[in-house]
């Protein structure tokens, strides 16, 4: 019997996999480079023939348009890059608030699906099915119409305590910034440090002795107490800048425009439906025996949820939850449809004024890419901490 020796490995033969792989990759790179060159070349030719200027130098020119709302003062004489900055802060403001509110509401709705009460289950289910099957743009438009047409004019606004709700938006009292508040902030810092130190100590005590100690409530109380002490040291100011009803509008106090409210409500209510599904899926994914084992060990229902169910559910919940956060941030770009000055809407105005489509659109994409990649990096880091430690 003659044993056949395997054929000699010839790396650069036409039939070797490595060589063919190399050829494929060279072809792919050449094709992509060709397409990119073709598009870039066309763009340059088109720009030259149409006399379109290019470059980012317009960013330092005065913007020449006003922005309805911004976190810091902006007027039309300021340059474009500051206008973009206002847009970015507006986007982040609505996105961050929306993420917090949607997480709270979504978690409640998701946990509610496991309630023993059929009415609670039914309400949660119908909420989810209703809100996630209607386009978010339509929901934004509907909220905007309701806020600007159904609500009364500012002269006879709805008043609930110090809050005013009218076509002009929501007005609310804000504390007057003074030394007292500054002292409260000073108190907050040592409070945070102390609370953190206490929590560490009580965790180590619990692990050493098995005696349960307060790990959440007491540290929080320490933080609260320290800031209240700081506030009292600063003279305990209770001045509020309260809104008052003027002839045509409501003056003083803090205000949220109807545009902002519509975007915030639309995004929050829509995303909460998706988050509820994520949370429900996460809890449902924990094996039933886990909960039964926890009660067999004598854990209370609260402990069972906190120590056994949630840590395991979180592993399943976090990756899709990140996606929902990113979706909310990206969906905030729809604000352009109702005139909330987010970054897309500012870029759109700048595009119409300067005609620099390529630059404006790339700036918008850059902003969203940075936030998206930043958020996913952050959540990946958290996820790697929450993931099962495998060998």
């Amino acid at each position: 019997m003659t044993s056949r020796t395997p054929p000699k490995k010839n790396n650069w033969s036409w039939r070797s996999q490595a060589f063919r792989g190399l050829i494929y990759q060279v072809i792919a790179i050449a094709a992509i480079a060709g397409v990119v060159w073709f598009l870039a070349h066309n763009t340059l030719v088109n720009m030259r023939t149409r006399g379109i200027q290019s470059g980012f130098d317009f960013l330092t020119q005065p913007a020449g348009f006003d922005i309805g709302e911004s976190l810091y003062p902006f007027d039309s004489a300021q340059p474009y890059w500051q206008a973009f900055l206002v847009g970015v802060t507006n986007t982040l403001r609505v996105a961050v608030l929306g993420i917090i509110l949607a997480t709270l509401l979504g978690t409640l709705l998701g946990v509610g699906r496991f309630s023993r009460n059929a009415l609670v289950r039914g309400v949660c289910l119908s909420y989810v099915e209703f809100f996630r099957n209607i386009p978010v743009l339509l929901q934004l438009l509907m909220w905007y119409v309701m806020l600007t047409e159904v609500l009364p004019a500012a002269a006879d606004a709805w008043v609930v305590g110090p809050f005013f709700l009218s076509k002009g938006g929501l007005n609310f009292p804000i504390p007057v910034w003074g030394t007292g508040q500054l002292w409260a902030a000073y108190g907050l810092l040592p409070g945070l440090l102390l609370g953190w130190a206490y929590r560490r100590w009580s965790v180590s005590q619990f692990e050493a002795t098995g005696q349960p100690r307060s790990m959440v409530v007491l540290p929080l109380m320490i933080v609260l107490l320290a800031s209240v002490a700081g506030w009292a040291l600063g003279g305990a100011p209770t001045d509020f800048n309260r809104p008052v009803k003027g002839d045509f509008s409501i003056e003083n106090g803090g205000a949220l425009t109807p545009e902002f409210l519509a975007v915030l409500m639309g995004l929050t209510l829509y995303t909460a439906a998706f988050i509820a599904e994520v949370v429900r899926g996460g809890i449902a994914s924990v094996a039933r025996g886990q909960g039964e084992a926890a009660s067999a060990l004598g854990l209370s229902q609260n402990q069972e949820m906190r120590l056994v169910m949630l840590p395991q559910a979180l592993r399943v919940i976090i990756p899709p939850l990140t996606n929902q956060y990113l979706n909310l941030t990206k969906n905030s770009s729809l604000a352009v449809a109702i005139g909330y000055p987010d970054v897309v809407s500012i870029a759109n105005t700048a595009l119409n004024q300067t005609g620099r489509a390529v630059e404006c659109i790339s700036l918008v994409m850059l902003v969203y890419l940075t936030t998206s990649l930043g958020t996913s990096l952050l959540m990946n880091w958290y996820n790697s901490r929450a993931a099962i430690k495998e060998r």
Partner: protein, 367 residues
């Protein structure tokens, strides 16, 4: 030993009723004080909310297209606006006398979509049928053949446009997504990194910026003299966008195929493409149907964004119908509710279907 007489022990009480409506209410609504409290609270809120809503939407509503009646004091919703404007809302700016054409075309396309969801139609000729039906769709909508007058794409609108954008981008993005998903798992570094960059780039930006690109930048990309219709540009934008999301879903399915399957195929001497076609894809694709369906639902909802780049699909057509007519403009809410219902019917039935497919797929795993 004395004689014992038989003495029966006392009968046990009848078992507590665990079935039937009364037991259900007891278990689900009034189990303990917490549940009872929640029942009372939610029941109270519902009692407070539902009657006024019903009053507004049904009892006091105006159903005839008469805007003076709608403006009277104390009337509820004005559904007359739908009766008056439904043709524009559903068909957009399509010429009024020719609106049977989009109707037939939409019914055909929707029928095909429904048929594609049924297992018995998953045959080799289904893609061919898609090509034929899409051909008929365009012939009907665009006209200029068989005695039909020509209707340019800028007059297309309403529900036909929504369904066209959603289904065409799904069909066109699928092969692209398949290639990208395979590319992301390939062991050729250049191809893998290109596919990864593409997916991450597209998923990192909102659809609206892709649409802006399609409508403002795309004309600059083309060689001088080449003009591409705005509908096609937007369609390309949505397709490229949807492909990135579908690619991720398909990649998930590919990852779920056990490695032993590929190794077994290699042992049998199958080539890369044979392995993918005969072993990996049939298993992976069966698993990704619900995910693809979910993507289709989001694309269907996302088509509402094209109204921002001035294509009048369902949402845009609604605004168009009411904004052009000062008499009816105050009843925008009713218009929005009407199209929200249309979207809801489509999306809800699709999500039920996707749910059903999921249970079917899981059933085969439970054996």
């Amino acid at each position: 030993m004395n004689q014992t007489t038989f003495q029966p022990i006392a009968a046990r009480p009848a078992p507590v009723n665990t079935e039937g409506p009364i037991a259900w209410v007891k278990n689900n609504l009034l189990a303990d004080w917490k549940t009872t409290f929640a029942t009372l609270l939610i029941g109270g809120v519902l009692l407070w909310l539902v009657p006024p809503l019903l009053n507004w939407a049904v009892i006091k509503a105006v159903w005839v297209p008469d805007y003076d009646a709608c403006r009277a004091e104390g009337v509820g919703a004005c559904w007359g606006v739908i009766a008056e404007k439904y043709r524009i809302i559903i068909f957009g700016r399509y010429p009024f006398d020719e609106q049977w054409r989009p109707l037939v075309a939409t019914v055909l396309l929707t029928g095909l979509l429904v048929a594609s969801c049924m297992r018995m139609f998953w045959k080799v000729w289904l893609p061919l049928l898609w090509v034929v039906v899409l051909g008929i769709f365009f012939a009907l909508m665009y006209g200029n053949t068989m005695g039909l007058t020509q209707v340019d794409t800028d007059r297309w609108g309403g529900l036909p446009l929504t369904i066209l954008l959603a289904s065409l981008s799904l069909v066109m993005s699928f092969p692209l997504a398949l290639l990208i998903a395979l590319g992301r798992r390939s062991n050729l570094p250049a191809i893998r990194s290109f596919c990864t960059i593409y997916v991450e780039l597209i998923r990192g930006v909102p659809l609206i910026s892709v649409l802006f690109m399609a409508s403002f930048m795309f004309p600059l990309f083309m060689p001088p003299g080449v003009k591409i219709d705005v509908l096609v540009r937007v369609l390309v934008g949505i397709t490229l966008f949807a492909a990135a999301y579908s690619a991720e879903v398909i990649r998930g399915g590919l990852q779920a195929v056990p490695k032993g399957q590929v190794e077994a195929a290699a042992t049998l001497g199958l080539s890369y493409w044979q392995t993918q076609r005969k072993i990996v894809l049939p298993q992976a694709l069966a698993m990704v149907v619900p995910g693809i369906m979910n993507n289709f639902i989001s694309t269907f909802k996302d088509t509402s964004l094209v109204t921002i780049v001035s294509l009048y699909e369902l949402t845009g057509a609604m605004s168009l119908a009411l904004n052009s007519d000062a008499n009816w403009r105050p009843f925008t809410i009713e218009g929005y509710i009407f199209i929200a219902l249309i979207y809801f019917v489509f999306c809800f039935s699709m999500s039920r279907y996707s749910h059903w497919v999921e249970t079917q797929v899981n059933k085969s795993k439970l054996r």
